[in-house]
Amino acid sequence: MSSSDPLIRVDSVRKRFGGVTAVDDLSLDIGHGEFFALLGPSGCGKTTLMRMIAGFETPDEGRILLDGEDIAATPPHRRPVNMMFQSYALFPHMNVERNIAFGLERERMPRADIAARVDEMLRLTQLEPLRRRRPDQLSGGQRQRVALARALAKRPRLLLLDEPLAALDRKLREETQFELMEIRRGLGMSFMLVTHDQNEAMAMADRIAVMREGRIEQMGPAREVYRMPATRWAAGFIGEINLFEAIALRDASAGQACDMRLRDAPEAAPISLTCDAPLRAGQEVAVAVRPENLALRRGAPGAACLRGDVVELAFRGDTTLARVRLPSGFVARANAPGAGGESLTRGEAVCLSFDVAAARVLAS
């Protein structure tokens, strides 16, 4: 083990169930103290990957290294990794205290130390008054905290969180998100979150891997994944986005600015955007713009604007979401803030524009 090793290294791992490939040649690293999120729709293999790290599934190919050592031969009960289950999986025949103490007792920790650690965990999760209750006497939120306290009690090197907030209502979910982040900062351990909820992943994680069909579609810091989606699919999966069809007007190498024309603004002057991939003249690309970066103006046909008609309006408090049909039939979504948005009417002709700095070219 050297200090430069990541905490967990997943190296070209592949796992099949019957004819289905759940995880396909996947590699990733999780650093010491990092909050990492695996984000993807159900069935994308994220849970399988997490279960392989926990030891409940074995990879068909590839290795999983912990501190540089292959843990293939280590059964789940000997891995310094703990998991918080989506169903919480509390022991129904034990009270809160005994649930939390279970893992410590398996380590043969001295009694006094167990009691001290259990007290610490109860304090941390604010469960002290409920210590003698059984799981079926607790609310969903309380159960969630017991599951967390139980998984944290052993001070694992890595805590795996399987959809930890899925069963909570919205308000409690937000509160718990902040609690989780605070707890992690306090304990300084690595967390791996598995979720299908992009807001959850973006709110908590330092780094996100977006998974699709057993592979990583994009991996990077939360902000980068949101602002600079790598593919159309990743762009569509994370948050709302408009993908405007466009055509490259000349060849350009990766990272070089390239003129392109939007299909829905044929008369407008070409816009100049850089793309991460090389482009050929005539190649079809998508220009991705988040709804909040799409400015909406009334009527007045400007130079660089996409003209369309408002087909739908949804008042969202601080903004109004407008769905605007463009000549090609594509329906764009734009957030119009404040009074300007509220005064819009259905059927009205509007004009959409965006700052090229907020747009991203996606070749695939």
Binding site: H77, F85, Q86, A89, L90, P92, A151, K154
Partner: protein, 262 residues
């Protein structure tokens, strides 16, 4: 209209209970009959219960039955629980379907066939028939009932609870002992009670597999009844009914108190 329907419901209910329990009620009442004649009421008397205490054969048979039931239910529970764990937890293994069918077969197999085949087996093995052959036979019969009850419960338990135990450092054996079995315990106890009462009741299989000196209570009652029904048989039957009822009550109360505690 509703009144008419209410009357109909009540009469069906009463008729049903009468049909089921009138014979048993009569048996209990006549066990306190002072008269020697079974069908003529001669006043209340506990004399047949006292006579029962002096009937060595009957008391011996009762104790044999209780011992057989106690021991065979232990075996049945242990084996049945193992079978249930194998079926509910080991996933698919070679011969699983066959195993499942064979565990469940005695549920539908005619008792006569079971008794006869066991008798043939014991004869072929030249095993001396007596207490232990009845115990083995009853354990075989009881284990399938235990397996059904326990398997039902295990299949209702979230698999991830056991995974959580292993995740927290319990070896598979510890997870079984500290998590799976305690959760399944109510059903294991229910299985034991079931196997116990089935063994206590059984006449057919016991008659095939018993030997000299190991006559069970149902066998003794049957052979006496053939010589003429004496009120003493009513008395011993009442004691058995009372015993089984008490056992079921204790079991139900234990369940209720566990619910109340939770």
């Amino acid at each position: 209209m509703t009144r008419g329907r209410g009357f109909f419901r009540w009469s069906v209910l009463v008729a049903g209970f009468v049909f089921l329990y009138a014979p048993i009620a009569l048996l209990v009442i006549y066990s306190f009959n002072a008269s020697r004649l079974v069908t003529v009421w001669g006043g209340f008397s506990p004399r047949w219960y006292i006579a029962l205490l002096d009937d060595r054969q009957m008391v011996d048979a009762a104790f044999i039955s209780l011992r057989v039931a106690f021991v065979s239910a232990l075996f049945a529970t242990a084996l049945g629980t193992c079978a249930a764990i194998a079926l509910a937890r080991l996933g698919s293994f070679r011969g699983r379907a066959l195993f499942a069918a064979m565990v469940m077969a005695p549920l539908v197999m005619p008792e006569v066939i079971m008794g006869l085949s066991l008798l043939l087996l014991f004869v072929a093995l030249d095993a001396p028939r007596g207490f232990w052959t009845i115990v083995l036979a009853h354990a075989t019969m009881g284990m399938c009932f235990v397996a059904v009850v326990v398997r039902e419960r295990l299949e209702g338990v979230d698999r991830s609870i056991e995974e959580a135990a292993m995740d927290l450092g319990a070896s598979p054996a510890q997870a079984l002992l500290r998590v799976t079995l305690p959760i399944a315990m109510p059903s294991i106890l229910a299985g034991y009670v079931l196997a116990f009462t089935l063994s206590l009741d059984d006449f057919v299989i016991a008659s095939f597999t018993s030997g000299p000196g190991s006559t069970t209570l149902p066998m003794r009652v049957y052979s006496q009844a053939r010589l003429g029904v004496s009120p003493e048989i009513n008395a011993i039957s009442t004691v058995m009914i009372g015993f089984v009822a008490a056992l079921l009550c204790v079991h139900a109360l234990a369940r209720a108190s566990r619910r109340a505690r939770d």
